[in-house]
Symmetry: C2
């Protein structure tokens, strides 16, 4: 048996950043295609897998859920959500995300089912296109498919430094919402103002809910991925009939949540993760229609992959960390 080799970042053990290797290039089977990648982006999911904080980890594996590349000369991006199934409300048991268990995009080539392939939005650079798929899909679903955001509504995006949160912030602004944010970094709060954000608070200050309330009144939609103790403050920041979209739980269990506000205000807490094939198509339509450009914080060559992981892990970025491939 002969192998074609490619460059890839390979994760071989827990706790060690994936390292650059010459690795067998994948071969497409029936219904699959081989994409020659030009750029990939990192996600916190990749960090959690390296740290062993994710179900179903196997070694070796090539991580990476976000990829942009060439397929027979055509510029394409990849929908990282595979086998969602027929129910728009929830993914099937067969659902998986590119980059574990299937080898992902941190390599010069990736093989995916042909139906995961979509045209790259033509207004995006190679790096911007690579930054879009997973964060764009997750943000679109929670904001629109789950919370039904409408133009003119007032939105709070917590922890806006996160990849999905920042994308949700950009999408909500593009949709004509009035957007407020929170962050643990004054520098990030300052930076997002340039996007058109109406106001923001640092959640490290104890009175952040009161400050947000004074600043914004109440919100129609709140997008959160923290949970924890801070979540209990969110219903008090809601207008009647508001929707709270929850797509993560980095601060752990929710405590001190008052039922009274939830039922008297007819509030909705809506869990959301990733998105369906339909969500992905609608997300691309939205990005094209609004000429939305994902923010790219920094671009690393594949050879500096471990450095890119370490950089994301420090959490100082605002925007995606992108790897340049195929050079």
């Amino acid at each position: 048996m002969r192998y074609l080799l490619m460059k890839a970042l390979v994760l071989r053990e827990k706790g060690v950043w994936p390292q650059l290797e010459e690795y067998p290039s994948p071969e497409p089977k029936e219904g699959e295609v081989l994409v020659s990648l030009l750029a990939a982006a990192l996600n916190h999911r990749d960090l959690w897998i390296v740290k062993g904080l994710y179900p179903g980890i196997r070694y070796p594996v090539i991580l990476g859920s976000d990829g942009m590349g060439l397929l027979e000369g055509r510029e394409v991006i990849i929908n990282p959500g595979m086998n969602w199934g027929d129910d728009e409300r929830v993914q099937s048991k067969a659902f998986s995300i590119l980059g574990l268990p299937a080898n992902g995009t941190l390599a010069d080539y990736v093989v995916v089912p042909a139906k995961q392939i979509y045209d790259k939005p033509s207004h995006l650079s190679v790096e911007e296109a690579a930054a879009l798929p997973l964060a764009g899909l997750t943000a679109y679903r929670v904001l629109f498919s789950r919370c039904g955001l409408q133009a003119g509504e007032r939105v709070l995006i917590t922890g806006v430094g996160g990849g999905v949160a920042l994308m949700a912030c950009q999408m909500a602004l593009a949709a004509g919402a009035e957007v407020f944010v929170s962050s643990g970094s004054d520098e990030k709060l300052q930076k997002v103002k340039a996007l058109g954000v109406a106001g923001g608070v640092n959640y490290r200050e104890k009175d952040w809910p009161a400050r947000l309330k004074a600043m914004a009144g109440g919100f129609d939609v709140i997008i959160d991925s923290a949970g924890g103790k801070g979540f209990a403050a969110l219903p008090d920041l809601c207008r009647p009939a508001a929707r709270i979209g929850l797509y993560g739980g980095t601060c752990g269990a929710i405590t001190g949540l008052s039922p009274q506000r939830l039922f008297w205000y007819q509030l909705n807490i809506l869990g959301s993760t990733m998105g369906s094939d339909r969500d992905f198509r609608l997300m691309l339509d939205f990005v094209n229609r609004h000429q939305l450009r994902p923010l790219v914080d920094q671009v690393f060559p594949l050879s500096r992959g471990p450095e890119a992981f370490a950089y994301l892990d420090q959490g100082r970025q605002l925007g995606k960390v992108v790897l340049k491939l195929g050079a």
Copy 2:
């Protein structure tokens, strides 16, 4: 000035059950009608008001949200939710419930806006009709308008001894759902089996979530009015895309709620209280279509009103506590 007098249960101070009095009979103004009441029902709301645990209490007041009576010879029931407003999603700021601030149904006569009046379902007795409005409205909205219950779905109703919970249980069964319940009383669990309930657990037993899981697998819809620590067990009892309808918070703040289950299962926590005029109409249609009969636990004459309050306060009833009026 001359007054027509009527018999009424009048609340004059905190902590003392309303007492029977001769009280001025109300006079309808433009757009209002005078209903000659035949029966009324008590709700926990009435207990909370007596105990001073409700906003906007004033004295004296005639409590009572549920009433059945005669209007020009026509048998009618009263929608206790007033001024819901135009938004089906949530009540307006002008919304109020009959029986505080407006004088309610624990009297021989009540005045209400004419549009609160509906024909009594003809299959119901006077007492059953009086038992229906508030519990029926609240149960219908949380179960159908909010949680969108479908025939064939598996439902959990917690604390089935409560008036709304028991009504939700009867409605879910009538709608063709498979219904499980919890209660703090083995006797009540035994009694509801006769309604067609598939199974139940006593929530005083520590392992009630595991026992429910073993018994039922997972639920499509959960209806809860407790909140508190026990609420955190509910998402683990959910099927993917399930809806948890929350219409009360008798056990206080929700603690220990895991965000991971909420977002990965795309769950929905939906606050609900009372219902719109549309909900009331749909509820009556449902009750007529399914010939549903609210359970009446005990009927007291108005003269024994304080006793009826004390009986409800003991919490041993299964079904509504009704007062016979106009005798």
